[in-house]
Assembly symmetry: C2
């Protein structure tokens, strides 16, 4: 499993064969995305969720995806250490994964790493994104079930809701719910959830309170996650997984095209065009058009 995830990280040429071989063996695991701002307690919540899943006798794979922030090395290491209480459990597999190389890499790397853990027999794959960027939310948003963590007193409940987080969240966990302001954050989020328009019969995002450090509310969180999976049904699940596959296929296609753009050589190559743009001899749009035309 570890070696296959490393192949994904390295964008290894043999991935094509590996993914073709794994395809028929995947689709069994419940893929749960977890995201939220730094300091909200993602790792502690993940660790508590692992324990709750294990108490229900389910095998858990955890993928912590880090879009190669040059500044997050330390935090990521700390995250892994905090989860080490599960290190000796053979029913738990924890792996952090950096998306080296291209920005676009994350879009296909996360689904492929999920496929590895899924095919290896995990009942649940927790996809935790480290960081706060758009790409992390997109990754978490392509899970079967997406959990967004917020904390009281960070101003994040309302901010997150305003910024479209409600659209990707199937379950909202207000963590550190023993702190001042928790009641208000829960109330605000519930209000916003109830106001959002959605077709009749569609899942209404559940708002739960957790204190991950004491595992308080973690069973409620897991129940909400399972309820969402059930509410999705076969058709809803298929729609989610098609969305995830679309992201993966698009990401791979763009990588192919990006490689072509970078390797388009000769007089009309990227460097020559860029030098013309830098010197004001041509404009960037005309240069981009010429580059795309040269790909054909």
């Amino acid at each position: 499993m570890a070696r296959l995830v490393s192949l994904v990280e390295d964008a290894h040429p043999s991935l094509r064969e590996v993914m073709a071989a794994l395809a028929p063996h995947s689709g069994r695991a419940h893929v749960v995305g977890l995201t939220g701002p730094p300091g909200v307690g993602k790792s502690t919540t993940t660790s508590a969720l692992i324990a709750a899943y294990r108490a229900r006798d389910r095998r858990v794979g955890v993928l912590a995806v880090d879009p190669t922030s040059p500044f997050s090395g330390g935090a990521l290491l700390g995250d892994r250490i905090r989860m080490s209480e599960h290190a000796a459990d053979p029913g738990v597999y924890i792996r952090s994964m950096a998306s080296r190389g291209h920005l676009g890499g994350l879009s296909w790397a996360a689904p492929q790493a999920v496929r590895v853990l899924d095919a290896a027999g995990c009942d649940v794959v927790l996809l935790e994104t480290v960081g706060v960027g758009q790409s992390e939310v997109e990754v978490a948003g392509t899970a079967d079930t997406t959990v967004v963590l917020v904390a009281p007193g960070m101003g994040d409940g309302v901010q997150a809701a305003k910024a479209g987080i409600l659209e990707v969240a199937d379950v909202l966990a207000v963590n550190k719910a023993d702190r001042d302001g928790a009641d208000r954050t829960v109330r605000d989020l519930r209000h916003m959830v109830s106001m959002a328009e959605r077709p009749a019969g569609h899942w209404q995002p559940r708002v739960v309170r957790t204190v991950a450090t004491t595992a308080s509310g973690i069973d409620d969180l897991l129940t909400a996650v399972d309820d969402h999976r059930e509410a999705l049904g076969a058709e809803g699940l298929q729609a989610r997984r098609t969305r995830r596959a679309a992201r993966e296929v698009e990401g791979l296609a763009l990588d192919v095209l990006r490689a072509r753009v970078e390797h388009t050589g000769g007089r009309e190559g990227l460097q020559a065009l860029a030098a013309d743009v830098a010197a004001g001899r041509t404009d960037p749009y005309a240069a981009a058009d010429r580059l795309v035309a040269d790909l054909g």
Copy 2:
């Protein structure tokens, strides 16, 4: 100026004409990138740098680029408020810019917004990136001069250096240099800078100490930035700007290709391919190949 930057944010169709018209009028401003982890004091440092530039009678444009983190809305607003002491100065223009839409947008949006401020007569354009991702470092790294801020006691000096930050930094500012551990961070960074291999005669990144809240060391920082600009010379500057233009042209070309990928319709369209991948009927690489082939 504000309206043109908004056109860039919105990826407005008229940008093609605007950029063609601005091209001959750009290339005069010194583009200075600023980046560093959250809490290091980027906005305070930016504000102090503005004051120092104004004392030297230079017109300053500030672009704070935020790659649309759904969680950073609050912080960004705070950043702007902290810089409002310069709001009444006609020689200062401050603008925050979100890169809406595609991940790839930042690669072309930042250079285009820089071109607007440059053509409008700014002597210096400070390009501040909010956030800690790879894309922010890349944006700051395509400036004429790149300043990386680190703080003592965050463990970031060494972490950042290890993660390749030294490669983009022309000047390293250890901010909050009145704190414990500052001496050690400065010493570590100077040691690492001196150990890095570089061709003879090449600029050796300068490490300066600052306390932005009291403007202590800010003149040293500005001097280091100016020295770097001078050391670059005409040829070095041209190389930097070609690199920035290459990023811009590549970003625009990829946006054209991405739009084609998304709009490739019919039976073989992305959705149909994704459904096949989700159901395990085909593998993602074969699907991506078919998608790319259909673009032709």
